[in-house]
Symmetry: D2
Subunit: 341 residues, 4 copies
């Protein structure tokens, strides 16, 4: 049994994903909490920013400066979009390993990055070496990776269920329709009238339809992981819950398939996965809230030659901090579920 401990720091520790990282790492038996960096909250006690952590961690958020990561074995970046690409080159000089929870290193093609993120990429030379990784599919690469790009919340919910189905040739790689519903914490912790309770409550808001930056991430990951160019229509909706994503994906059957065949393909793919639960009834967000599970079920809709796949995750756990810690476990040779149950 690996009983090493590592020192872990967080840049962007005062946002929702950062707070979730702290909460998880506090219970992780192999982790010493390193430095906690924040921008506008630098100088404030952790308990003032996250009152639920009062009495759990007596620390002050610090302003980031690169030398501060010396002594850390791993740094999590939980930053607003566009900031990580400025930090990573510097951090690498300190021979620290990095897991970036943001979107800066997910897309391999800088032109696609610029098209969807509306800014040029400033660390293009690192895009190829950054490892975009799902713990369930990329455990080997993770062992030695220096820069890991943690998948996005929506993409996690979409990609994990589709990989086995596409690899087995059960569904076609085109004509895939993805409807995702996300809680409000997915939009981060900034002041905005659009995210105010009175605007979000008792409503549903489709947004960035056809132009969301997770579309190319989903397509790139599915294409690489399955070896077949795959396209999707991705339609995100904001719903009045705090945490969680439910994704309903409709794909066209490549050829007639039976329930048992699909069951077998999925079970074989995830037999040893600690956090993928294949259900015979429909997933619901409340069942995965505050956990690192992804719940998956499907309905063979033979009448229209379609397969309907439903998945649910907690966007801040399996969709962000939890998956990042699961990744960390594999990077450092710990048990995959350590600290996550």
């Amino acid at each position: 049994m690996n009983t090493t401990t590592i020192t872990v720091s967080i840049v962007g520790a005062a946002g929702y994903s950062g707070g979730e990282l702290i909460r998880i790492l506090l219970r992780h038996p192999r982790v010493r909490m390193g430095r906690l960096f924040a921008a506008s909250n630098a100088g404030k006690p952790v308990g003032d920013v996250f009152p639920h952590l009062r009495g759990r961690l007596d620390r002050i958020f610090e302003a980031f400066f690169p030398d501060a990561v010396a002594g850390s074995d791993l740094v999590f970046l939980a930053l607003p979009s566009g900031e990580a690409m400025h930090l990573v080159p510097t951090l690498l000089n300190h021979t620290v390993r990095i897991v970036d929870l943001g979107g800066d290193f997910r897309l391999k093609d800088p032109a696609v990055y610029e098209m969807y993120y509306k800014r040029p990429h400033t660390a293009v030379e690192l895009l190829q070496s950054a490892v975009y990784a799902f713990p369930e599919w990329n455990a080997t690469e993770l062992r030695t990776a220096s820069i890991v790009s943690n998948p996005g919340c929506y993409p996690t919910s979409v990609i994990l269920p589709l990989i086995p189905l596409l690899k087995a040739g059960i569904v076609k790689p085109h004509g895939i329709v993805v409807n995702s519903l996300s809680g409000v914490s997915g939009a981060g912790r900034s002041a905005s009238t659009e995210l105010s309770f009175a605007e979000v409550n008792e409503s549903v808001r489709p947004y960035k339809v056809g132009v969301h930056q997770h579309t190319p991430e989903i397509e790139q990951a599915l294409s690489l992981l399955t070896g077949t160019k795959t396209t999707v229509a991705f339609i995100p909706h904001l719903i009045p819950i705090t945490r969680g994503i439910l994704t309903t994906t409709t794909a066209v059957l490549a050829c007639p398939a039976s329930e048992s065949e699909i069951q077998e393909v999925m079970q074989r793919a995830y037999a040893n996965a600690s956090f993928v639960r294949l259900l015979s009834s429909m997933p619901e967000i409340k069942n995965v809230a505050n956990t690192n599970f992804i719940d998956v079920a499907w309905k063979l809709y033979e009448r229209n030659d379609q397969l309907i796949v439903v998945s649910a995750i907690d966007n801040l756990v399996k969709g962000a901090a939890g998956q990042a810690v699961q990744t960390m476990n594999l990077m450092f040779g710990f048990e995959e579920p350590e600290g996550l149950q």
Copy 2:
């Protein structure tokens, strides 16, 4: 100007749709409130069952008996599924006109009814004469109809936006994927652990995937109204709001189409519709809550040869009581929006 007034009774007046009918009819200048029938709530004052109506209507719910509708020009049926088909034959003997808000007279084929509603139909002889009607498309039939079958809540949100697109040949009649999100009032007002706040809140629940009784209703209506056999995958989800439906429909383009072409088709179809709003930004449920509007927008997703259509309604108003009153207005020659603004 038509200044007639009519007497209107409601059977099933103590459910959510019934309460909404009362609320709307109280403000309708052409309506005298007739009898209000309820089952388990018979004998109770209206204000005890609907405390928001206290001081607005001093009435007692009555147990239904057929002769009681004598003197009513119109009877709304707002009953649990399977009850209206037992009442309608009797009501017709009293030469009263009927608008049924439930599902008993929506499907023309009794075998399909039995397959989806899990019971045999007991008034098969009336299925053909019942007029399934959208005020926007069937105004002429409504003028003389005796039995009107008011469309379902989900189908209203799906069908109205699709009719012009299918009629104009812009989208294909197969491969249509419909994801609908509904508030909890759509499930009616009965005791159920599944609908309790603690089970619904902070979650999303896909249900009856591929087997919902609104699937054949949508397909039948689209096929009849557009003249082309149409099929859909219909995926309903329960979300934690009280009122409203948001529907996201993805269809395959029949041929390359331009934004302006689609705009023109939709505007021509609904130029004179009082309650169809075509938007350039995405619909949200809160904007139609407590109104009879259906808000519609779309996104041409040329990259995948798809059209994404989004619509929002209040399930109890445009999806039930409001549309029923709009229908009543046309049946009796009133202005279409009378009492609904």
Copy 3:
């Protein structure tokens, strides 16, 4: 019957109270919509700021300038705290009547204003002439008032039930404990992390305990209306709903009282009030949402010589725009409930 019509303008028309005023006035048979002024939203169509009003009112919000109110019979001010006192002196030069929905003219003592609102009052000379008025108690003053100060949302819920009880000497004027629960729209429509859905949902937040600016308003109004100096402890809480206030007030009985005595006192006070409903069961917010009603009930807790009074209002209607229109009706000699049912 008074069939005059008046022209009504709104300054601050793009906030929540402003939007509610527009919605109500659109249905008011005696009102022509005058000018709609907004600050940051000037230049935008009404339907862009309030998508629920699309198709109902084809107008553009204008930047305010004093001459623009010429031709208006009445101007509603629905402004952030501290702005009305700068406008009112100018508006008076245009001989227009004013109803201020904000707090600037509610407190008669400028020192108290400064203590609670944290700024000096700049129109002290108008504080005495401004009429702080409840339509139920101050109808006579309203007929001729030039400047009307509309009571605050919390105070409305507290004061209306207490007036008859204090006047009749049933409860003591000291030791009154007021716990109020308010929906988020009460905080107005500005960007704030504190009001974001993810911060408000699944929680309750007591705030400004003992220092809320509505405390002196409640005490002043109760003292003036009942003729006895009255003090309260006022404890406001933010709860995860959009609209509505529920207030639970506990007062000490001045002498032994019977249920029937209290019932008689309350019924006599509000026998002719259009919008005060005295209930025998507990008020709930949902029953008054979107209406101008205040629902009131009480529980005589003889065991401890206390009376517990519960009231519910919609903070944007009876607590703001609705009460302001009710006031307008009395100012101009219309029927009190006109346009409000």
Copy 4:
């Protein structure tokens, strides 16, 4: 260090408190899960009743029979009101220790029980020996107790903050006004129209005002723990959240007190308490959700000689299952916070 392990069974394991007990005990290093008994859910896998526990515990709920507890060191009873008093006499024959999470053994006086619970007590002979215990105040009694009565959710939130204040003579034992707001899970997991999402959402519901069964529990506990007969007005409200209680208590100062004096009294009382957090800002439910903490703050309202005390707990954790496990830890000599962080 005590490294014993114990076997723990649960009667009523399929309700909300039972599910929470399972969730907590699964992580407890000293606990072997014994038998899980349920009534209507007997025969069902745990994962079907609690889908969030799928993959965590592979067990079937059993129908209860007394011999089944042989081999258990401790039995938790998480039953509907009125059932535990029938079971406890039998269980005692099996020399098992018992923690009852329900209300059957909280009140010492059977006449008071009957008045508030509306049924006669059937195990009156056990009322005196049952130990009503807060881990923070009754650690010694717990070590040897056979039957422990776990305090109610509301009473926990009310009593813990008041004990030190009453003991120190800072506030008077009469005239205490308690307003509590509870999430819906507090009402248990049964089918009820009143608890349906559509009835609870966007509303607040005061209920059992002046007659709630937690009133005598609060008064009895405060009187016993402080040595002075104490009375309260207790006003519970149902609010639209799933979990959590926020309680605002207003008490009259017994004599002039200073902030620092109150601070000192409270800090001295809870200096070594693992789960009582004394805050300088107001508690909010979200900060204690899913934890065993009670957050407490107060506001000295000298103007009216009052002290306003606010507390927040998770009703299912500190208000039920968590406090029960904290109690178990003390009964068996484990560290108090074991398994609860």
